[in-house]
Assembly symmetry: D2
Homo-oligomer: 337 residues x 4
């Protein structure tokens, strides 16, 4: 149920209304649509409710029921693209953002070197894994907290934001302390307890699409984050699983225009995991710019063949430089015409 | 690395050896292969290690390196099928076990009624969800702890074991208190923090295959459970995601013979989630018996059309009765010839 | 449109009616439903037609419009299973038929030896490829006509029927001359010119499901055969393409119960192509018997490792013997309960 | 086997050599690599052949064995991109070509109108179906030969080339007479008899990737065309089948860079069939330009909602105009940097 309030409803009155609904057993969320305050009733509604019990409340202009599957991530109440602003940075609604860095944070030196290089070529967000999800329990699982510290320092030293993966609820506080954006990996896209916990983490969440998640499941996972209080969600298409074996996954470039029609959230492409092959990463990045994704996340390594993980897909800083030039050029062209 | 010990190595000597390896920085696990004690070194080995440092230790008969991907779930050290024994029940290595019950525990009455009915027709394990993973955050999420209590009592009253899904590490203790087998859902198959925590929960784990998990990923997920201390793992094939839309998923019946060659763990089929269609559940159950799966997990409801979730796939107790008769008949035939 | 005629309509009157409809520009097909003659108007109908123009014709009892997608393969006009009878053999509606033989006919000797062996163990239909669809143009493409002659003689000598693949319209006459059942391979499932030509070939057609064909597409392909005059069609599920790489394809065992609800045509399972692995073929055959498929098609070779094609999936005559015993036992059990 | 000849080998000597090899039972093809004549022995070689029997022949410089899977479509002997030249047009090796037109040729008027409109906006090749592959036998199957004539005239009147689908060997001559490029549909990608016949049709072939064909299978199908004599093959990526249902298929944009590494043949993207949704077609076209595909094939209709087939995916001439502007701009940018 959607309760549209008068434009000039004073804040205390809104809060009183929310409290009252909460007391009645409803879960609500306050929302602004073209500056008009709206109370979205998320849970507790059934078909037997008398709508007039709400329409007669003070400051209530109208009451309507939404049949939309995605109450909060959908475009019906939020037609403009979400712009996530962190420091001087913005994700969504205009710029083409480059997130770059190593798959895994290997050492203090490594992350500082790579940060400096990718920043100088246009990356504004530093990526790097400190807690790694690995198929085998015997593979290297990441440096943990020291790695996060190295990355935070490297990002700050180069005027960058930082992003890293969080794998469990117990790590949310730690990650929140160190990084600017928390990443949820593809394997955890439907880890609902993690999503609920991240709803109240206070920092933007970067949600990767599951290996074989439909658009509906992907948006529903994002809806968990918003319904639990976090409006700052970035969607990431990173390739889906198909029958093709030469490519690690198959990049679903159509996800960008399809999701654009359904949601106001920013959408980023990860070409590295999509193909798993160094020589293919640039082309997929250009495709991302061409479909007007809000950015890319790319694995960059100074010595790709010695990367401790995902060596086959890391590109060199030199390749990254060319890649950025072409992406920016395409981005400009798309905005100019 | 695999350290084969003498047959008559005294327990204190084995423990001393394990302590010493642990002090050296290795993660180990003790294992018996045809009664011979074996120390499996899971982590901490690299190519520079001098093998003789281990072969010269007391009671050590030989040292070898294993190239096997699945150190613990594989058949090379454990050729006989794992038999999980709980009370008088056994899963794996012979019997055809039926796990049955509602998708969701809806009320005390409901679970008792269904438990009595399915027990009388041959089910020995009661299934029912108390914490439900739901695609949308606005769907019913289960009764929680009261549901578990209802189910435990209903199972006991009918001489059954109970099984229910655990969705997060924080719930492991609660579930362990109430149910005999903890289920990991398809969406959580690669939730590594949950798997690690379940490694030490002390109860058998029922691991569902992810929606598009390969056999390799499925077994690697099970390997996490064993590597973290839990040898009692049951694998469950529940259909994989394909292009077909009439069927909810596509049952990969070949998973049973393929996985049998690779692992000693019991394998159970879930025909209900595989097809999502009541009329198709029996045939898939017969297929499970024919490929000599160790059992089935079936959703049964006294009034399927009023089930609060997965209504389309729940069968009636009457259908379950016929299904059990035919499954048992096939099981007998397969063992007789 | 369906034109139901009086029970006792004389044949000349029916023919006159069909001629008249044909003259009016309609494509029709005569059909009997519980012995009542029915004229099915397949093409030439649009929404502007006046129904009474047909209902007033002589012997016409009633006229109705069918919204069914599958006019001829569907169950609405043909509720009983189709029984295809050739010589003393029957496919569909009861028996469990075994089609067995080598992937490729390699020599006169080879096909005679294998025919004798599989016949003695219960196979009644001899399979073997004379024209082989090969992914690479440089692979062996089959013996052609001499191969067909060898197979026909081998089948006759052992009281068997024979089946072989037809790959193009130009070969239909040749195949029709030599074999009892013409097979359409998975790659050709939607080769509509071939399907149309086979509509009038006068022999039963064995239609394999395409690699990623939905049930709807599969049945629509069969509908082509029936709409072009051939009511004797056998459907074959042979595994669909998925992400799994250990298995050649993934057997969709659920196709049998799903298709059973939609069509009256016989359904056969090909376990050999489904898994591509000798050791897995028997289990999949048992699953076929358990879901009450109308039979199996299995690759058997006296020296599997020297088979010129598909060596990995051919079973020995010894394995085939055990396989048949178990399949027959399951088939009996399923019919007995 | 590859027989490298001297640079100055006279043509009669080459022909004599080919005849001799043919007499010896080999299938050969003459080839030029950087102007050096090469005889490629396609079939008839086995491991027992004595290499010196060939190396001692006149004009033979060296003999080598190729392990390449793709003898003719691969890059090892043909490192430069194939440029297909028809009239003043070129496909491959530089330009970004737009093929546009209706899904189905509906009338003389329709095809002339659309041809004029798309030509004026930059399309140089006119597409339109006269023989339509339809899932159901009861759907409209196309205008046939009259349609081809309408299209040929419309193309000529606007200085365009024409392309249309050929569905069977019997239609090859007819299509060859009317159109400049013959299209093989996704369903026929592995229709080997059609491919063999098209090997000698004398016109370029546009080969669409099968619904779930791997890169290997796609290139092997193209290899059939080249091995049977036709070097002018254009590959078309048109979306693969996945689990996603909102999109008709899933465009595998990565196919372009992956195939580029493997083959010298031109690669074109079909965004219309890939997504099946009008609003998404432009974005996918931009992605095609960004990954430097050699062109696009787009369905354009003056009144999309009244298109007799594929209505949902046809774009208007107005949308096509914008689409072309942006594609050309991206194409320029990619070449400029």
């Amino acid at each position: 149920m959607i309760i549209n309030l008068e434009f000039d409803t004073p804040l205390p009155a809104i809060e009183a209304l929310c409290d009252r609904l909460s007391f009645m057993g409803f879960t609500t969320q306050l929302y602004h649509h073209d500056e008009q305050p709206i109370i979205m009733v998320l849970q507790g509604i059934d078909a037997t409710i008398d709508q007039s019990a709400f329409s007669d409340l003070p400051y209530v202009k109208s009451v309507s029921f939404s049949n939309e599957k995605y109450k909060l991530v959908g475009r019906h109440l939020h037609s403009q693209p979400t712009k996530i602003k962190i420091g001087g940075h913005q994700i969504g609604g205009g710029p083409f953002v480059a997130m770059a860095g190593p798959c895994t944070i290997e050492s203090e030196d490594q992350i500082h070197t790579i940060a400096r290089l990718v920043a100088s070529k246009g990356a504004t967000i530093l990526r790097g894994g400190a807690f790694k999800p690995r198929t085998s329990p015997y593979d290297f699982q990441g440096l943990g907290e020291p790695g996060l510290r190295f990355m935070r320092d490297a990002a700050r030293a180069n005027g960058m934001l930082s992003i890293s993966e969080v794998m469990q609820t117990e790590e949310v506080d730690l990650l929140t302390e160190y990084v600017d954006i928390l990443q949820v990996g593809a394997r955890n896209m439907q880890n609902y307890s993690l999503l609920k916990r991240l709803g109240s983490c206070g920092k933007p969440v970067f949600l990767k699409r599951g290996l074989s998640a439909t658009y509906h499941e992907f948006l529903s996972a994002a809806e968990y984050l918003l319904a639990h209080g976090n409006p700052e969600v970035i969607l990431c298409e990173r390739g889906v699983r198909t029958f093709e074996t030469l490519s690690r996954n198959t990049l679903d470039i159509g996800a960008v225009p399809f999701l654009r029609e359904l949601t106001h959230l920013p959408i980023v492409i990860d070409p590295s995991h999509a193909c798993g092959r160094r020589t293919v990463v640039p082309a997929l990045s250009y495709a991302a710019a061409a479909v007007q994704a809000d950015g890319i996340m790319v694995e960059v390594h100074t010595d790709p063949d010695r990367s401790v993980s995902d060596a086959a897909q890391a590109i060199t800083p030199e390749t990254f430089e060319i890649l950025m030039k072409k992406c920016n050029a395409i981005h400009e062209v798309m905005n100019a015409i």
